[in-house]
């Protein structure tokens, strides 16, 4: 991982652009609305599957192609690796805890960031945990 001093000048702008596209996608797919997520979990609208697996299809193709095209990422010099984390019991325990929270609230981290801003534009308390 490159440190902040020897980073390519386009590194941070690129992350910003990626985040913008990512956030726009969360907005466009209505994932920033807890009701939509809860409708999925209650089997009333299965659209969320298209969001997660649509997103995974795109990253899947890119994760597969890039290591075969380039040796190292142009802005960091880091090798292209897949996102592989070691498996242990915590993955299931943490997943279950996450699931309780997600099922209760319909919010997950990425979408919650999007939702903050949306509330803030309304001049309402921007905190997603604020009293409604």
């Amino acid at each position: 991982m490159a440190t902040s001093t020897d980073r390519h000048p386009l590194f941070i702008p690129l992350v910003l652009v990626g985040g913008l596209i990512f956030g726009f996608g969360l907005g466009y797919s209505h994932m920033a609305r807890p009701e939509v997520v809860l409708n999925f979990l209650q089997f009333e609208d299965f659209g969320l599957l298209f969001v997660m697996f649509g997103g995974a299809a795109v990253t899947g193709i890119v994760f597969f192609v890039m290591p075969r095209v380039l040796d190292r990422a142009p802005l960091t010099g880091d090798p292209f690796e897949r996102r592989l984390k070691s498996f242990d019991r915590n993955v299931l325990i943490g997943g279950a805890i996450f699931g309780v929270g997600w099922g209760l609230s319909g919010i997950c981290p990425g979408a919650a960031y999007g939702w903050w801003r949306s509330r803030a534009t309304d001049g309402v308390d921007p905190s997603p945990t604020g009293a409604d």
């Binding site: 985040g19 996608g25 969001v51 890119v62 498996f87 999007g114």
Partner: protein, 163 residues
Amino acid sequence: MVADPVPLQLAAELFPNGISRYAIGGLFVGLGAAVIYVGTGISAGASTFLESTLSYVSGQSRFQQYVASRDWRLVFTLGIILGAAVYAVVYQGGAWTTDVSWWRLLLGGIFVGIGTRVGKGCTSGHGVCGVGSASKTSLAGVLAFLLVAILTAQVVAALGVTP
């Protein structure tokens, strides 16, 4: 009037809002992660943001491990916020709000926060980047949180809490 063929009826039942908004939105989400990966080799996730940002104010080793990544994580989160705001302003002419009770959001948020840290990822890290990597760990994580989330949401609904 001829009734819709069975597949169409089924589609309307499973996807009352159609699929295009979800599929197109999902493609954008994947594209955002892909753009970052192509330039930097980083598979971005959203849920490490809180810990990495705490490293600015805390010297604890738990947070200090994220010093190298904290600035881009901050920028990534900023991008998500702005990107969602662009959608909200351009397509729906303003903010959206929710009718989900405040206690569900608060309690759920706490569980979500703890769960991502214990379980090594969230819906973007495991769900989008991990599944895209065909990581068995991420597939197991996704399966775990999907099943438990479905169960939780169904139980809460069955208890008469709406929404």
